[in-house]
């Protein structure tokens, strides 16, 4: 892969920009298309897409708005930000945030462009705030600051795949998902961001066949790249075996922090396991109360639970619309938003509900418009298993290249039950179930029914006959069901398109290799012609 890039570099400009497929045989004229935006020899795109006057202006205005948000939120911590760029390897990836949004809006027009911008703005404003929280608390960046020390005294870090929802009852304290900013989101912003940490932990002795997400998290600990921002640490055993054991490393790294483990049961479809789950959560509440000297505030908690219910209802509305012939909010705009709304912000950020309300209104208008113009999706697909962090805009590529709309993503089908907002015990059971059905965990744990049977149910519900079956090469949970998926899809006449990836490490399976799997399937099985031939084969190994 890197050899190809180097060869192209050597060949000079003639080859560097011309991605394969952008030149027609026998002619020097380039075909117009979105593939021309990418450069094989550069990180940034060639130029911004022209979407017609109105949409281009809207897109440009959103770009400025995003930059304004980052400046406003991070301006007050500029000295720490500059120090952080020197101290932490992952920090530079956050400078590419506008490019991250651009990647996800390529090819979108009118309503879809607006949904996408709104959805991404909500999650980015939350992340930027979290970056600021890190910067203003971090002991490494503020070694002598009394203010930073005071903030640390009120802060608890959580393992990243576990929602900080329990903090709803501690409004005077701050909960921060520890690995979310250094690893999880950094890998989504910049495909190169996690490589150093993966190499570090493999050099330490970890086998390379394990999932690179917990691996990179351990690598970050091994090379001492975590900020020191808290007084307590709530670790977890979710969502998979890798996460279970990687806490050994983080607990060792944070040995000066008192630690409590939230350990949701595995077989969570059984009602009997909830007793233990609730006890475990009560233990966490007591642990925080004792160590931080504050009481769990049920009123504050119920307020957040109400907000969770509102957000969940908006999510279900989006799914309902996507079940119709006129799906609206699709692909990563749906999935990433929900992941961040619940996993990262855990309904503690009121902005999400506000933005959801606006998007919902817009969505209904878009739906009516699509119905009137009979604007149907060419192909209807769902995404199953865990997607590649380094290629979160894959579904938008499939939409632009082949007209395949991704109606729902397994990753966003996390916790979507409503919480009791009056009865404390019932609400605790709901919270326990919320933890049990977190990102990945909701389908990879709890027995095969949650992975296999649920997939076919969703195909039926969303009227989809294509499944992008992400084959995360290091995920043993889904790998263990590979043959059964294959057999059962065949029985049901569902097109299962296996797309290999390695979650955080594009060196194992590149973005291009992921696209090739779909290209091959579409041309050989569907005998389809691409909507945009320039997107069939291009090189983006070096881009963010």
């Amino acid at each position: 892969m890197s050899e190809t890039v180097q060869e192209k570099r050597r060949a000079g400009t003639a080859a560097s920009g011309a991605a394969a497929g952008t030149e027609r045989p026998g002619t020097k004229r380039k075909a117009h298309g979105l593939g021309n935006l990418y450069r094989a020899d550069g990180r940034a795109m060639r130029y911004r897409e022209w979407r017609g006057f109105k949409d281009t202006m809207y897109d440009y205005w959103r770009w400025l708005k995003l930059l304004g948000l980052m400046a406003a939120r991070l301006g007050p911590v500029m000295p720490q930000l500059i120090k952080a760029l020197k101290r932490y390897r992952w920090m530079a990836s956050y400078l590419t945030t506008p490019a991250f949004v651009d990647r996800h809006t390529i090819g979108l027009r009118k309503y879809e462009l607006r949904y996408c911008h709104e959805q991404f703005y909500a999650l980015i404003q939350s992340s930027v705030s979290m970056v600021r929280d890190f910067l203003e608390r971090d002991r490494h960046l503020n070694p002598r600051s009394k203010r930073a020390a005071r903030l640390r005294e009120k802060t608890i870090v959580f393992d990243e795949m576990m929602p900080i929802h329990i903090m709803a009852g501690f409004p005077t304290l701050k909960g921060i998902p520890l690995q979310m900013i250094p690893i999880f989101e950094a890998g989504e912003l910049d495909q190169q961001a996690n490589m150093y940490y993966i190499d570090a932990i493999e050099h330490f002795g970890l086998a390379p066949d394990v999932c690179p997400l917990p691996g990179a998290e351990c690598g970050c600990a091994v090379v001492d790249d975590y900020p020191d921002v808290a007084k307590l640490y709530i670790s977890s055993t979710m969502p998979c075996d890798g996460s279970v054991v990687s806490t050994m490393y983080t607990e060792r790294y944070f040995k000066n922090l008192d630690c409590y483990q939230i350990t949701p049961p595995q077989r969570f479809n059984e009602e009997e396991v909830q007793k233990y789950a609730v006890k475990n959560l009560k233990g966490a509440i007591k642990f925080i109360e004792d160590r931080m000297g504050v009481k769990f505030d049920w009123d504050a908690y119920f307020e957040v639970a109400k907000r969770h219910n509102i957000e969940t209802q908006y999510m279900l509305d989006k799914w309902d619309v996507n079940c119709t012939p006129y799906p609206q909010i699709c692909g990563a705009a749906l999935a990433l938003h929900r992941e961040f709304e619940w996993q990262m912000a855990s309904s503690l950020d009121p902005y999400f509900a506000k933005a959801d309300k606006k998007v919902n209104r817009l969505m209904m208008r878009g739906y009516e418009h699509a119905k009137k113009t009979d604007d149907r999706a060419k192909y209807r697909a769902i995404v199953w298993s865990c997607p590649a962090h380094y290629y979160s805009n894959f579904t938008f590529w499939a939409q632009n290249c082949w007209g395949i709309k991704t109606l729902v993503d397994m990753e966003c089908m996390l916790t979507h039950h409503f919480y009791d907002v009056e009865d404390k015990e019932k609400s605790l059971v709901d919270m326990a179930k919320g933890y049990e059905r977190m990102t990945m965990r909701s389908h990879s744990n709890g027995g095969y029914v949650n992975a296999l049977d649920e997939c076919w149910k969703m195909c039926e519900k969303f009227n989809a006959n294509i499944v992008f079956m992400y084959n995360h090469v290091s995920c043993k949970n889904f790998a263990g069901l590979q043959g059964l998926f294959e057999d059962q899809a065949r029985e049901r006449g569902i097109h299962l398109i296996w797309v290999e990836h390695d979650l955080m490490d594009p060196r194992t399976v590149s973005r291009k290799a992921m696209r090739d799997r779909v290209n091959r399937y579409m041309t050989t099985v569907f005998r389809a012609e691409p909507l945009d031939p320039t997107l069939v084969d291009y090189d983006d190994d070096l881009t963010w």
């Binding site: 002795g205 998979c240 279970v244 607990e251 483990q261 233990y276 095969y448 043993k476 790998a479 263990g480």
Partner: protein
């Protein structure tokens, strides 16, 4: 050393899962309950007319069908079991007592169930336990609930098995007797010049996991007596003593390979080994036996799945103690390829042991059948043995020994 009288017999029993003793027990009208993991308490599978069979897939060759179903990225042990199940190798089982403790094994059990590879009649049942992640009292209560609902109730209702407190106590007594014999045999490895090799001991240990225990007790007792008067070779056949710590090993060839490379295996802290599987269970007569059994299994568990800081420390301390008690020169941390838990544990523990506790450590990963990677493994072990020898020479020169 002179061959042990029953070793050949024991070795033959390991040739297949459905061996002569299993068939004999089933002919007597007893029920064979298959299991794979320490977290399914073996003693509860030996109640009344039941007997436990810890599943293996000896002489595994190709695993193509299992690889189709579980991909080539899952642990070879679980794939080997699925392959053997699809070949019909576990049709003799009356129940399969699984645990949802690791992803690969859980999926293996689910494949075995969905692909209908066992002869299921109205008695047959699968179970899949939710194993807690620590050993506090909440976890014990959860574990008890799971075992009661998923194991004891089906045993009672489907097979009419006596699962009473008295029955559990009887099973514990038998378990303790077996454990005492096995541990006593194992103590021969503490001697300056041990009278049993690691390979021989591993065979005895495996037989105790894979056969109806009451049918091997006489021969095990005889073997113990034999060992008391067994003379070791005048010239030591090893260059260093090691403790093997890690994931599942049910392959005596691996231990044999390590010993052929010059390292005598004197400690076995791995799944299918005897630490902690052959620990005695102490019961308080005034407390329910079932709860005490569950508590002890969780307390004794040394699986990296249980990762509370005190459990992590328990694992390090156990490895260190074994090394000390059995006068080992070093530890071999091993993991089955694609075993996530042991991959993390091996990487960290090998650093902790060598850098913080001063115990030389070799860290290896290996296939299920060691013969498929014998050359590489032998080279690694030989190099480790040489490094241990060099350390000894240096220490002697420095006057420390």
């Amino acid at each position: 050393m002179k061959d042990l009288k029953h070793l050949y017999y024991f070795e033959n029993l390991l040739g297949e899962a459905n061996n002569d003793l299993v068939r004999q027990a089933r002919k007597e009208g007893r029920y064979a309950l298959g299991f794979t993991c320490f977290h399914m308490p073996e003693v509860l599978l030996n109640l009344d007319k039941c007997f436990s069979v810890r599943l293996r897939a000896p002489r595994t060759g190709s695993m193509e069908i299992a690889t189709y179903y579980m991909s080539n990225a899952t642990c070879e042990y679980s794939r080997a079991l699925l392959e053997r199940a699809m070949e019909g190798g576990y049709r003799f089982l009356d129940a399969l007592a699984g645990v949802d403790a690791c992803e690969c094994m859980n999926r293996c059990m689910e494949n075995i169930e969905l692909l209908k590879t066992c002869d299921t009649d109205e008695r047959f049942f699968f179970c899949n336990l939710d194993v807690p992640f620590s050993d506090d009292e909440d976890c014990v209560a959860h574990y008890c609930e799971q075992l009661n609902r998923k194991l004891l109730v089906p045993l009672r209702e489907k097979m009419n098995i006596d699962v009473s407190d008295a029955s559990i106590r009887r099973a514990v007594e038998k378990h303790n007797e077996l454990s005492r014999i096995i541990r006593e045999i194992g103590d021969c490895r503490r001697l300056e010049n041990p009278t049993i090799t690691g390979h021989e001991y591993h065979i005895l240990s495996l037989v105790s996991w894979c056969c109806p225990q009451d049918l091997i007790m006489d021969k095990l007792r005889e073997t113990l007596e034999e060992l008391k008067s067994r003379q070791p070779d005048a010239k030591k056949s090893y260059r260093a003593k090691v403790v093997v710590v890690g994931s599942e090993i049910d392959d005596p060839e691996l231990i044999s390979l390590i010993e052929e490379s010059g390292a005598l295996v004197v400690g076995d802290r791995f799944c299918y080994g005897t630490v902690p599987g052959r620990s005695e269970i102490t019961l308080d007569p005034d407390q329910p036996a079932f709860e005490q059994v569950c508590r002890q299994y969780l307390k004794d568990s040394l699986c990296p799945r249980l990762n509370s800081p005190h459990k992590v420390e328990q694992r390090y301390a156990t490895a260190e103690k074994l090394c000390h008690d059995y006068h080992a020169d070093g530890i071999i941390y091993e993991q089955m390829k694609f075993c996530t838990y042991w991959s993390y544990e091996r990487a960290l523990a090998s650093h902790v042991m060598s850098l913080e506790r001063g115990i030389p450590t070799l860290s290896i990963d290996r296939p299920y059948m060691s013969r498929t990677s014998a050359g590489q493994l032998r080279t690694r072990v030989q190099a480790f043995v040489e490094s241990l020898e060099i350390k000894k020479i240096k220490a002697r020169k420095a006057g420390a020994v």
